[in-house]
Amino acid sequence: MERVTKEEVPSKILQALLSTDSDISVDGALENEMILNMGPQHPATHGVLRLLLRLDGETVIACVPELGYLHRGYEKMAENMTYYEFIPHTDRLDYLSPMANNVAWAMAVEKLAGIESPARAQYIRMMITELARIASHLVAIGALAMDVGALTVFLWTLREREKILDIWDILCGARFTNSYTRIGGVANDAQPEALAKVKWFIDQYEPNLDECEKLINTNRIFIERLDGVGVISAQDAIEIGFTGPNLRGSGVEFDLRRATPYLFYNEIDFNIPVYKEGDCLARYFVRADETRESIKIIRQVLDKMPQGEVLANSPKKVLPKKTEIYSKMEELIHDFMIVNFGINPPVGEVYSAVENPKGELGFYLVSNGEGRPWKCKIRSPSMVNLQALPMLVKGHMVSDVVAIIGSIDPVMGEADK
């Protein structure tokens, strides 16, 4: 691809906006139309997404999304630190569900290094991914409602999310940037009080969600705002690369938890909610239903969770237990070696993807046998999902643009990496 100089950028954007009818010049085209710059500080663009809209009155004729305002170069940063050190950075990808990212990263590195984490650790991972899914979807539901004007629903769903953050606080000591998983397991065993709190949460969650939904689900104003807005067909959704709830809202029953079962998802009984319509309302329904399925999964996970270790016994690759470091020489040496030189996975490459709340989060890792990844590629679902935006908003109104962004539920930390 050719390089674009700084001066060329505005004209490039204008060209893209005008590309639908290329026979008219800028002056002529803008006589009755205007270019509206939406974001990156707009209250409804969920972070720092910038949209350039070409409007005829209130109707959107063309849209160019501009990403990259939150680019921090995580893929390059990963090449300069050990696999272990990158764990806190995964918190900052999809910052609404850091636990799920932690799990995705740990699983990718384990696949690369050939480590099998113990069963209890895997069950804990399932529990926290599903909690992360609920936490993320609660924000998505609330933010969508807020974007169409029902602010109260947002506060109510955030109240529920707050309880999940409290659980995380007990479980791993941080509410937001959890950094809970480790290569080969999880940082610390789930304490009984944390598990008790999870149990309490799943018991009270559904009535509370019902209450939030009652406010909007049969409200004609809400439904009219979303019904038939931003429709994407199953074919288009697949072509663009939609994953997660957005794809399932278009009627494609694809879920990595079923398609390529990881952890112990093949032992768990759960449904994959699918809606055919492919509009904003369908995507909203999918998310609400998914949180209910997550509750079902957590309930089974709590029943099946075995006792035992939470870190794999693989001295060269997994940090030893704390009490052993204090007392045993060999563990002490391993501690120093792993921290200083990394875990040195064998030469090779691996792609590992999990079903994150936003869609398929994949890590493509290439190792040259050293402690640091030679290459790390992050396949972030938000970034891919956002590519559909120009197609979705075309012909709708400015108010719908806001609703469509809300229903796609992008997280810019992940989209910009």
Partner: protein, 357 residues
């Protein structure tokens, strides 16, 4: 009347007029706006499982005063690309429009700013001035969001004036008066004499009127809600779409004037609803002043009842705002032209037929 009293006190027509015209501002609009802003924050907070302002004064009661003080101190930013005369004039016009409405509002039998015979007509006409101010603000800001907000606002307010006027016309047709004072006096006695319960006097008419009066009340309330840009009709300032609509570019005291005007307007339309359908300043169960033979108590009681009714409707406006999503522009127009206007017309015709019977 207040004017006569002031005239006796000062001995000058000019002073009496000036004092009387500032009366509602300092005695009512400012304290009300301060209270209403606080109430709005409290109501929204409590509906959302929050506490709202708690620090300044008891339960944050002085929060708005602190905010106003802050706004007064803020720099008054005028961007270079703004159309300065219009930009500076717009908040004044918006405020003047909503302030002028208070001239004809009957707070009590003894206190009406200007007891003109065309009270209702005056209110509807003067509140149209607000549209001009909003359009000026949106245009002069030279901001695309402001312009979109202003255009939406103009379209919305003008459309929704039609059902408002038709419903008011229905009432005028029955009562035969445009004077809010006379309208309120007509509904005196107990609450079953209110227009919402078919108006004064016995007879079959009264009972036939009741369902149509309810429909009329709902239409009037919805359309006045739209006229003051409250949710679900707050699209001119929809914060998730247009940032803040027509007042995006305003800061400091000019912003405060828009804010003040919005809350003053909220009370004004609530007052119209109360005056037209809910007996105006009349008490629902007779007066203590009559019971204890203290005639000076009656106007005070009337003032109390009027503000209580007005505040109740203001509270309902806030309540609706924190419950409902907002409509889209085209849906907003559809609600007005497809539902409210035809229904109010049919209502008008039926009420007319009943009163002829």
């Amino acid at each position: 009347m207040i004017y006569d009293y002031l005239y006796k006190l000062t001995g000058s027509e000019i002073w009496a007029g000036v004092i009387q015209s500032f009366f509602p501002l300092f005695l009512f609009i400012l304290p009300f706006a301060l209270f209403a802003v606080w109430l709005e924050r409290k109501v929204s907070a409590h509906m959302q499982d929050r506490l709202g302002p708690m620090r300044v004064g008891y339960h944050g009661a002085l929060q708005t005063i602190a905010d106003i003080l802050k706004l007064l101190q803020k720099e008054d930013i005028v961007a270079t690309e703004n159309d300065k005369p219009l930009f500076n004039l717009a908040p004044v016009i918006v405020f003047a429009g909503s302030y002028a409405v208070f001239a004809a509002i009957p707070f009590s039998g003894a206190f009406i700013g200007s007891n003109i015979d065309l009270g209702l007509f005056f209110i509807i006409a003067v509140s149209g001035l607000v549209v001009a101010g909003i359009l000026m603000a949106g245009w002069a800001s030279n901001n695309k969001y402001s312009l979109l907000g202003a255009m939406r606002s103009a379209a919305q307010i003008i459309s929704y004036e039609i059902p408002t006027i038709i419903v008011v016309l229905t009432i005028v047709m029955i009562t035969g008066t445009l004077s809010l004072y006379k309208l309120s006096e007509l509904q005196s006695g107990y609450f079953w004499n209110w227009m919402i319960f078919g108006g004064p006097g016995p007879g079959l008419h009264k009972f036939l009127f009741i369902p149509f009066m309810f429909i009329g009340f709902i239409i009037l309330y919805i359309s006045t809600l739209a006229e003051v840009n409250r949710t679900p009709f707050d699209i001119p300032e929809a914060e998730s779409e247009l940032v803040a609509g027509y007042h995006t570019e305003y800061s400091g005291m000019k912003f405060a004037m828009f804010f003040l005007a919005e809350y003053a307007n909220m009370f004004a339309v609530s007052a119209i609803v109360a005056a037209v359908f809910f007996g105006g300043y009349q008490s629902p169960f007779g007066y203590l002043g009559n019971a204890f033979n203290l005639p000076w108590l009656i106007p005070i009681e009337q003032f109390f009842w009027f503000t209580a009714k007005g505040l109740f409707f203001v509270f309902v406006q806030m309540w609706l705002r924190w419950t409902l999503p907002r409509l889209r522009v085209d849906q907003l127009m559809a609600v007005c032209w497809k539902y409210l206007i035809p229904i109010s017309f049919v209502n008008l015709i039926i009420v007319g037929l009943i009163s002829v019977l």
